[in-house]
Symmetry: none
Amino acid sequence: MNAEIISIGTEILLGHIVNTNSSYISRRLAEIGIDVYHHVTVGDNEKRLYELIKSAMARSDIVITTGGLGPTIDDITLFVLSRVSGRPLILKKKISALINAHFKKRHIAMPRNNLRQAYIPKGASWIANNTGTAPGLIIKVDGKIIIALPGPPGEMAPIFDKAVLPYLRRQSRCKYVILSRTLKTTGLAESRLHDKVKKIMRISGETTLGIYAHPGQVDLIVTSKAKNISLAKKRISFIEKGIRKKLGSLVFGADNQTLEENTLKALRGKTIAIAESCTGGLIASRITDIAGSSKNLLCSVVAYSNRSKIRLLAVPDSMIKQHGAVSRQVAKAMAIGIRGLSNADIGISTTGIAGPGGATAKKPVGLVYIALSAGQKTYVKRYYFTNDRKTIKSRASQAALDMLRLHILR
Amino acid sequence: MNAEIISIGTEILLGHIVNTNSSYISRRLAEIGIDVYHHVTVGDNEKRLYELIKSAMARSDIVITTGGLGPTIDDITLFVLSRVSGRPLILKKKISALINAHFKKRHIAMPRNNLRQAYIPKGASWIANNTGTAPGLIIKVDGKIIIALPGPPGEMAPIFDKAVLPYLRRQSRCKYVILSRTLKTTGLAESRLHDKVKKIMRISGETTLGIYAHPGQVDLIVTSKAKNISLAKKRISFIEKGIRKKLGSLVFGADNQTLEENTLKALRGKTIAIAESCTGGLIASRITDIAGSSKNLLCSVVAYSNRSKIRLLAVPDSMIKQHGAVSRQVAKAMAIGIRGLSNADIGISTTGIAGPGGATAKKPVGLVYIALSAGQKTYVKRYYFTNDRKTIKSRASQAALDMLRLHILR
C-alpha cells in the first residue's frame, strides 16, 4: 500500500511555518512498510484542496491530511471532506463533550466557535485528541482510506501514534518492513566521523547507512528493508555493533534518546550542581527536561555577573581581576564553588564569550571554558565554538553534558 | 504569476530530513508578489517526477524544483528536465571548470562522478554555485518557466537570492507586492483572541488577517497585497493600529521579536533575579539568549531541591512542610528570597508540577505558581497548564516572562 500526505495551511505556502508533520508521518509509515510517493501542500482554499484530495485518491491508497481542522472560518477541511465523501456533517455529542472538558480542565469557558470541531462527516470514525480539541478522522471513500489529523504537531503526533498507525498496520498487511536506527554522536566533525565509518558504509543489500550533521551532533542512520521486523532488526543490530565497536563512547545514544537523558541515566545515584555563566541556564534547563532529574540535580546557579560569581560561588575577586571572568582559573573556581554551595558529588561550570559583544584580541567570541570538579580533582577544557549566540550556548551545553557523561563512564 | 515548488528526494519522503527549502522559497516569492498555491515532494523516481513537472506546468506559470542535481546515480533531475523540455543534455565546459576549481580549493581531486553535473539541457541558462558544485538552471518550455536548484539549503538559497529572484521579478513584471506583519500575543486562547479581532478580520479588499496558535503564543498575521510596497505598508499599518487598540498590552511584539527580547527591552535599567523550580533554568536561558542581558539579569538559581530552596532562598522549612513546595506561599517566599540574595530590583519565581510524576489529588500535573516581587509588593498567580513536561516548562516560562513584562508596563 502507498500513502500520500496533504498538508493544509496558507501559512505553510507563505513560508511562515516549516512543515514538520509530513516528515514525521513519513518516518512512521516507513516503519510499517507503507511507501510514501508524494507530499503535497495547499492553502486554506476549498477548490484546490478538493482537487488535490481527488488526485491523491486517484494515485494513492491512503490519503492523510494535516491541518484545517481548527475552530475558525478559514479551517475548511471538514467541509471539503464532506464534499469528497458525499456525506453530510453531523454533530457528535461525545466530541463536543470532550471539547467542553478540555476547556474545563484549563478553567476556561468553551468558546462557541470550538463547537464547529464536533461536526464530522456521517459514518466517519473519530479519534479523541488528548492535547487539543479537533479529533482525528478516518473515512473510507471508494475503497480509499482518508485520514484527517489536526495541524499542530503536538496534537497530530499522539493521535497518529495511538490510533492511526495501528489501524494502518492492520489495513496494509504489507510484505516488507523498513526499520531505521539512529546512532547519535557528539564531539567529532562529520567528515572525521565519515572517515571512521566509511568501510562500514559499503554495506551490500538492502541496508544503508546515512550521515546527518546538526550543530553539535552528528547522527548515523542505519536503515534496513526486510521481509519482517526480526530480520530487519537482526541486520541493523549487526551494523550497529560494528559502528559501536569502531566509535566506542563517541556514540552517546540511539533513536529518541537525548544527550541529557543518557547523561542523567549514567549518573545513577550521583548528585550534580551547575554554575553557568555563558550557557545562562541552558544546561540546567536541558537536564530538567528529563522527568526525575530532581534526584540528581541539587541546584544550578546562573552566575552571569562577577558579583554573583564572587558572592555565591566564592570565586576570588582578585582572580577575576588578574585572569578575567572568562579564564581557565575562574572556570575551575566556579566548579569547585558550586560543589561547596551544594554538597554535590560533581560540580560543572561554564564561562565564555557567547557574543556578539565582549570579545578581545586574545579572547574571541566562541571561546568557552568548561570545568568539572569531582572527588579531589578538577579539570578544565577549552573550546572555540563558532556561529551565533544561541548556537554557541547550545554547543557549549552539549560539550558540558558530554564531558559529564564521559567522566562518569571512565 | 504563480509558482509551484517541487522538492525532490527520497530522504524527504522517508522523513529523514525536514523540507525547509519550500518555505524559504515561498517567503521570498511572496515578497515579489508571486503566489504559491502548491508545494509538492517526490522521491528520486523518474516517472513520478516527470508526471509532477507536467501537472505543475499545466496549472502554474513557474515551476521551481530543488534537489536531485547531485553527482550520484539516483540524482535524476537533469534527465527528467531533458525529457520535459525535449532537449538533449550537453556538456558545458565552463561548468566543469568551475566544479574542478571547487575541489582544487579544498585540496581534493575531482571525483569523476561530479562531471555529470556539468551536463545541462541544451539552451538552458545556468547560474554558478559558489557553495557547491551543481549549478542552478533556468529553462523556458511551452511558455512556462522551469527553474532547477540544488537541494542543500546552503547552496539553494544563495543561487535563489542572487539570480533567480531578480530574474523572476523582471519576468513577472508583477503588478503587486505581498507584505506580511506578524503581531504576537500570549496569555489568551486562540478562540478568545479570535472573538476579540473577528470584526477586524472582516477586512475588505486584499488585506487578510490570519490567526496561528503555538504553545503559549498566538500570532496574528496581517498580509497585504498591493500595487506597491508603500501602499501595502500603509494598509498593514492601519490594521495593526486597530488590532493594537483592541488588544493593548496583549501584543508583546512583532515579526522576529521574541517575548524575552521585548521584556528585556522594557526593563531598561532595572535589574532582575530569578528563582526557578519547575522551569528548571529555562527562563534564565531564554533571557540569556539575548545579547546584553547581563546588564539586567544579576543571577538565577535553579532551586530544584527543598534543601536549596531553604538554604539559598531562605524559604522556611516549616512553610514547605505546611503548604508543600508547590504552593502560593513558597512561590512568594522564593521571589522574596532571590531578591534578598541578589539585591535585584525585581525577583521572579516559579514552583509547580511539570510531571509526569509528582501529582496529588489536589495538585495536578501542570499546576504552577509564579510570583513576582518588586518594591514593597509581591504577588502570585496560579496557572493550570496541560500537555507534556517540556510544554509545561515552556508555557510556565512564557507566563513568567509575560508577568514581568506586564508588571513593568504598568
